[in-house]
Symmetry: C2
């Protein structure tokens, strides 16, 4: 079996999760991860057995902290078949040049523009479009969340128009700088970037998005309003949502009243880092009237893109078809698989 | 000049604000307020010079606490021309019987059903409908907020359909029991009660509402999506919103980025209890494309209904016409008046 050599550039919120997820697959291995400075996260990387690669000019910093380094970021690019770029947003161009020079494939994250990679990726919607590509981009957590439900509903019923309000977490749980701490903050520039980002994968979709930042750390929540091409019943819509890959349908009567209980469930499921990879939709919050469909969904901003990164590696390295990749990724990460 | 004798039943979040607002008008006076138990708020009532009336069976409780009581709630009903009922939601029926028996007019709040009063009130939308009525109901803070902007837009452009997401504050600032403290909680039962409540005043409006409770105390925020009967420009929409009564248009470039800065502004304006009576709409968050109009608005849940209660008294007691009442109320409360 071909085992793809994967380098993870950036070992932060997304990078460390992707590293663990890649490590759990049989057809790929993590050959190294990068950090720009010694920190508790570089300790974690070493404790998990990942070799550390750092920018050349940072080697003295790591030497001083007595953190063993395997080589430079360039060295990692030379050794790897593919790099998953999990660096902070908007530094992608600099790294793209490095990847091009090394002739290594690379996956960017949603913090970069679509134009940087030229192709954007979502497992459910367009796995095939990144087949063999040198560069691709896994869309952001919110866009991934929207594609997971809107794409299957569009395929089944046809979506005439989509209106989405995203209530965004103010900061990640591990971030003590973010905010707001007691306020709601609108993203006044309309449409917010989320609509166009969904269109990077579904260019035919008429979608408008609005967003409000809220004082919470654990998940985003969307209200989704879809004008469908035909009338559907609530039951028909539930059926499609229930059968969509990486979507978990819950009912508030089971005690899942808010994002808090979703995180508690993910923890109880024994997931790595208590992550909820699936988009969570409330069954009793789905309602259709005529050709209008309404539902709520919750998005775990730290982890929903993790299985997509693994699938994107398989598509770009031509390892297997979409269904098989989804199956393998899900099994390795403990996500229920639906055919 | 006729001076209307007003009794305030319930001196909590809304009641204490209505008492102060009524007290600031020349054509009405507060003849007493009620409390069911001695507390810091009954001290505040006395400090502001309001006579206390209490349920008969609670008099010993107040005697014990050495809080002087003027009489029973029934006594207040006998003396008053009109009662503003600011008791907690869903106890209205019990009090309605008392008001009927005393032959006193009464205004209920949005926590009660429309059916209890038979008429609902909003200054902008239907001042005249409560003219001379014995009972009316000032709709809730969120419904008031929606009517303040949707009604004028409907009158000007015609609203075909309205889709609203309400991001609700989890608890009032003075409440240490509420929540969620770090989560987002969807109101799964659709439509939420807000849509039908708007229809209690605009029965012709096709509206759907969804709601999410957030971890904040200071204001609600709405994303409003309107399908209009005709195309309008963003500038035309801004003009109508700007000219709507008790709507304050702000721009994020002035530093008002979130609900936090709105409350800071209300405090800087020297308002009683730092209240923001107006619905706040972000000018740079208003956008039209074709016949679709999108905007964000913020609602101060503790105070936006206060001027409406004052106007409702004038309508029910036939003191003056809508425009004049709005003008008098606004001047007394420091709200800019727009003709």
């Amino acid at each position: 079996m071909t085992v793809v050599k994967v380098g993870i550039n950036g070992f932060g919120t997304i990078g460390k999760r992707v590293a663990t997820a890649v490590d759990a697959q049989e057809d790929m291995e993590v050959i190294g991860v990068t950090k720009t400075r010694p920190s508790f996260e570089s300790e974690i990387a070493r404790a998990k057995g990942f070799d550390l690669y750092v920018p050349g000019d940072r080697i003295p910093l790591f030497d001083e902290a007595e953190v063993p380094v395997k080589g430079t970021v360039e060295d990692l690019c030379e050794k790897a078949d593919i790099i998953v770029d999990c660096t902070p947003g908007n530094v992608g161009q600099m790294y793209k040049d490095m990847y091009s020079k090394a002739g290594v494939k690379a996956i960017f994250q949603g913090g970069e523009d679509h134009s940087l990679a030229g192709t954007s990726f979502n497992s459910t919607a367009n796995y095939q479009e990144s087949w063999g590509a040198q560069f691709s981009r896994v869309v952001s957590c919110n866009t991934t969340g929207l594609l997971r439900t809107v794409f299957p509903l569009d395929r089944q019923f046809g979506v005439e128009k989509a209106y989405v309000t995203l209530v965004r977490r103010g900061a990640d749980p591990g971030d003590s700088k973010g905010g707001p701490i007691n306020a709601l903050e609108p993203s006044v520039k309309l449409p917010t970037h989320h609509g166009p980002d969904v269109q990077s994968i579904m260019p035919w979709l008429n979608i408008n998005t609005m967003a409000i930042k809220a004082s919470t750390t654990i998940m985003h929540m969307h209200t989704v309003t879809l004008e469908l091409k035909n009338e559907v019943t609530t039951e028909e819509a539930i059926e499609v949502i229930r059968n969509s890959p990486r979507v978990r349908v819950v009912n508030s009567s089971s005690g899942i009243k808010s994002t808090a209980e979703i995180m508690e469930l993910a923890s109880d499921l024994g997931r790595d880092r208590s992550d909820m990879y699936e988009i969570v939709v409330w069954e009793d919050g789905i309602k259709s009237t005529g050709n209008m469909l309404y539902y709520y969904q919750a998005v775990h901003q730290e982890s929903d893109v993790v299985p997509e990164n693994v699938d994107c590696i398989r598509s770009m390295c031509k390892l297997c078809e979409a269904d098989e990749s989804t199956r393998l990724t899900n099994i390795a990460l403990g996500i229920p698989y639906k055919r």
